[in-house]
Symmetry: C2
Subunit: 364 residues, 2 copies
């Protein structure tokens, strides 16, 4: 599937927004913008698309409305900053945008924004208004993550071979929209939540032996990593397996990649990957791989989180996942990926992963 980036023409979309407002003003109308409401009440899980999505409720933001006018100004200000970034072909972080917007409204002592949360929120609105992702607006998210595999890319004019990156690997940028894939020689992608596990598999040249790509960030998956995974799926149809701890937090990392998150429900289409599957650690693995003595007791906060997960729409009707969650709750203990190290330092790459992948033991 071709990237949709060039068709969107970010600058054109921003110009269109401005043109519409100018037209409204010239018609002596109240300048206003209309977009899907970003509120918990308007977020639902769609069984059809299998994603967290925004519902039909719409927000109108107009200038001559005491409750809206500041947000209206903030939105236009961020749009102006963004247009400038696109024009200059430069990228900014959320924090940079905050500082570019944070100033006093002339002839007042009121700041356009006081907290970064305000500019962040408006950036998300702008994603909805323009239909463009933050990355397409040249606003970068956090940078984190390493990657290795038999893949050659072109990025900012450099040809980069991910199979020749030494022990460190290639550092995943926060924005992967402009990367060109030149050669992709891989049968699947293994994504893991922990950089230390990535280092283990990389030292064992797992990606070479099993013809795959290994990718990690640390903790919650960054947007750059999610978009990179999605591009591999869309452009090369590569299966993606998630390797995470057997605990509610590991399950949730998988859940966000697959179904989206409440915070980014308006971006689900651009960020979620339905084909992603959970490889482990599963409850069954404990017995299968002799991890009984290497478990760690769950805390109350973990147990509560399990209950929450059980009631999420996308886990609710899923028998396999309900089983995992019920068993995990009974077990009252978690199994971390690194518990496999108790069986030998390369047990994960020599036995656990090859067996799981061969048997096709995935949770969907």
């Amino acid at each position: 599937m071709a990237s949709t980036k060039k068709i969107n023409l970010p600058e054109e979309k921003l110009k269109k927004l401005g043109d519409e407002l100018v037209t409204q003003i010239s018609r002596k109308q109240n300048p206003s913008m209309k977009f899907q409401t970003r509120a918990l009440s308007n977020i639902k899980y769609s069984k059809q698309t299998k994603r967290l999505e925004l519902g039909k409720s719409m927000t109108e933001r107009s200038f001559f409305n005491l409750g809206h006018s500041k947000k209206f100004l903030q939105t236009l200000e961020v749009a102006a900053v963004t247009k400038n970034l696109l024009k200059e072909e430069k990228h900014a972080s959320l924090r940079d945008v905050f500082y570019q917007v944070k100033r006093t409204i002339p002839h007042t002592n009121v700041n356009i924004v006081d907290e970064q949360a305000e500019s962040d929120s408006v950036i998300e609105d702008l994603e909805l208004i323009t239909g463009l992702s933050r990355e397409q607006l040249n606003i970068n998210a956090n940078k984190n993550g390493s990657i290795a595999g038999k893949v050659i890319i072109e990025d900012r004019g450099d040809i980069i071979d991910w199979s020749k990156m030494g022990s460190g690997g290639w550092s995943v940028p926060s924005n992967v929209e402009d990367i060109k894939f030149k050669k992709v020689d891989a049968k699947f992608i293994l994504y893991m939540e922990k950089a230390a596990v990535w280092e283990r598999l990389h030292e064992d040249k797992f990606w070479n032996k099993h013809n795959c790509i290994i990718m990690s960030s640390q903790g919650q998956t960054t947007r750059g990593v999610r978009r990179l995974l999605q591009r591999f799926y869309e452009e090369y149809n590569l299966p993606i397996y998630v390797l995470a701890d057997l605990d509610p937090w590991g399950f949730y990392i998988y859940s966000v990649i697959k179904y989206g998150s409440i915070a980014l429900a308006h971006m689900s289409e651009k960020l979620t990957i339905q084909s992603v599957r959970f490889l482990g650690i599963t409850v069954e693995d404990i017995k299968e791989y002799g991890l009984e003595k290497h478990l760690i007791k769950l805390k109350d906060v973990d147990i509560n989180r399990i209950d929450q997960l059980m009631n999420y729409d996308w886990f609710k009707d899923n028998k396999a996942w309900q089983k995992q969650l019920i068993e995990l709750k009974k077990l009252k203990a978690k199994a971390e990926i690194q518990a496999l190290s108790a069986r030998g330092i390369s047990f994960i790459s020599e036995k656990y992963l090859p067996e799981k992948i061969k048997k096709g033991e995935f949770l969907d």
Copy 2:
């Protein structure tokens, strides 16, 4: 200066530890190990070496001592795990080592370790006992950080050109001991606490225009990054400048790189870099670069931290640093690196940094 790695011969040192214990046993002595005490009471700042260091107090850990025997066992167990890692030429994370050690002592219901803090502590003891760093014992710390510059390295047989890494850069591994520098074309290193700032400078090709290396981790500097900085200083005598927020946390990031930390006082010699200098943000920069309107109010926790820093031995007698701390406290506000974005997205790379470096405005 040549690397001391090969001379240490980590396996030999571990073998020596075992041999000594065997000798004691064969002489029917109480097996024991002796090493510098790792306790706050034994950590001091040395004006001579300008480092946080351990004092003269020694700890003896012997087997036939109720208070010691478990720790004695833990120490030997971790030493055995480490010896195996060295033999297999594999690296493990702290978490991996914990799982490798975490098991029940045969014929008892007592675990060798229950918490990772126990194995971590013993690994630090082992660093003292053997005189080897954790990295030399093949135990990796956290992985984080990106790097770019006109440098070519050899790592695990790959030749890696840091000037041709696209937008992501090379991902700094947790262990940089075995990296070989093939070509280093740089006049200095700029280290920054924020990945987003690194992305800004990288997009502006700052390293190319100013013939330097740019490096970042996120928040506190990882051991891998600290060792890499130190190797550049020792092997190429490159000046290192730290770019951090004008707040006590930014100052402390610099302080740890230069003087060491309490937690790693026993490793100061291997990790600290005396020549490192603080480039900014400084109190003077606020006026000089028009940041007055882009400050953020300090919280009580920040103010308290300033007081702590003022009383640290290495800041106490340093007039320039006392001035910064006093002014910062008066200001009651901090200036983040990214506040410079308020002056324009590339203000940092086109004006701020070139001017500061040209004028040689560093804090030492």
